[in-house]
């Protein structure tokens, strides 16, 4: 049976190894915010928050856009992990499911064969 094993550490997870950055993502999950709003929420300097947002942005977890003098942050398209890794995890679930289904249909097959023999 295929067991789900944690995917290797990558840029996304490295970006998330910091509790402030995880907090920023949770905050952005509820709606976009400017860097200065985030700095205020997390009691940090603007420079410190810019650094965190930069790391999240590089990992594809956050996107930013500048309108006038304000830089607004939102959740990135990449979310937490590469799509390929999510698809592989999904495949593992289905593979395990289908292994179990295989067991069930093999049993049904064997039963049909037995019943067929009994009728002869």
């Amino acid at each position: 049976m295929v067991q789900y094993s944690p995917p290797p550490l990558d840029a996304s997870f490295a970006a998330l190894s910091d509790s402030t950055r995880r907090g920023v993502l949770e905050r952005l999950g509820r709606g976009d915010a400017s860097i200065s709003q985030l700095a205020k929420t997390f009691h940090m300097t603007l420079t410190g928050m810019k650094k965190h947002v930069g790391i999240l942005e590089q990992a594809g977890l956050v996107r930013t856009r500048k309108v006038g003098r304000v830089r607004t942050c939102g959740l990135g398209l990449r979310r937490l992990k590469d799509e390929a890794a999510w698809i592989e995890r999904y495949r593992q679930l289905w593979d395990a499911r289908f292994d179990a289904l295989d067991g069930v249909v093999e049993e049904l097959k064997a039963k049909e064969e037995r019943d067929g023999r009994d009728r002869q």
Partner: protein, 168 residues
């Protein structure tokens, strides 16, 4: 066959393909006639034996199926009934032994699921297809598997903890 005479490693028997922005397709070939696969998919007592394998982590507590067009189904997952998570919807197509389709109504962005069983020479190619209303709905479903961001963060926290990188 490998040198021990066992079946080949199951690694690549199940294929998943994102066929379009909104569509996810899982395929697998079975050494059984289509009618048995259809039966295993439409009888609750059989369905419950395979839909939630141990590695999926969450047991299937109950399963109700009224398998006919317009009939409804309801699956409940969880460790105990008080905190069970329900999945439900309606069968839109029931054509034994080759085709089954249903809606997923537990969220507004649920997929339309279609399963086809194509039998040839005693073997059956099973194709499971999820068609989502939007690209975002598919992304969300893949990333969260079930549910949205909070669960993802829970999983992530657990994962980080196992890697010793909790960052607290």
């Amino acid at each position: 066959m490998d040198e021990t005479g066992n079946k080949p490693a199951p690694k690549d028997r199940t294929a998943v393909e994102r066929r379009s922005e909104r569509e996810l397709v899982v395929t697998r070939s079975f050494d059984a006639p289509a009618r048995l696969l259809f039966e295993a998919w439409t009888k609750p007592e059989l369905f419950m034996r395979w839909w939630a394998p141990k590695s999926a982590g969450v047991p299937l507590l109950s399963c109700e199926m009224d398998v006919r067009p317009g009939g409804r189904y309801r699956l409940e997952f969880g460790r105990d009934p008080s905190s069970a998570m329900a999945f439900y919807g309606e069968y839109t197509e029931v054509s034994p032994p080759s085709r089954l389709a249903w809606t997923n109504d537990e969220t507004d962005n649920g997929a339309l699921t279609t399963v086809t069983f194509d039998e040839e020479g005693g073997r059956t190619l099973l194709t499971y297809r999820e068609l989502y209303p939007s690209k975002e709905a598919l992304d969300e479903s893949l990333a969260g598997m079930e549910g949205g961001m909070p669960e993802q963060f829970d999983q992530l926290d657990a994962l980080l903890a196992t890697m010793g990188g909790g960052g607290q």
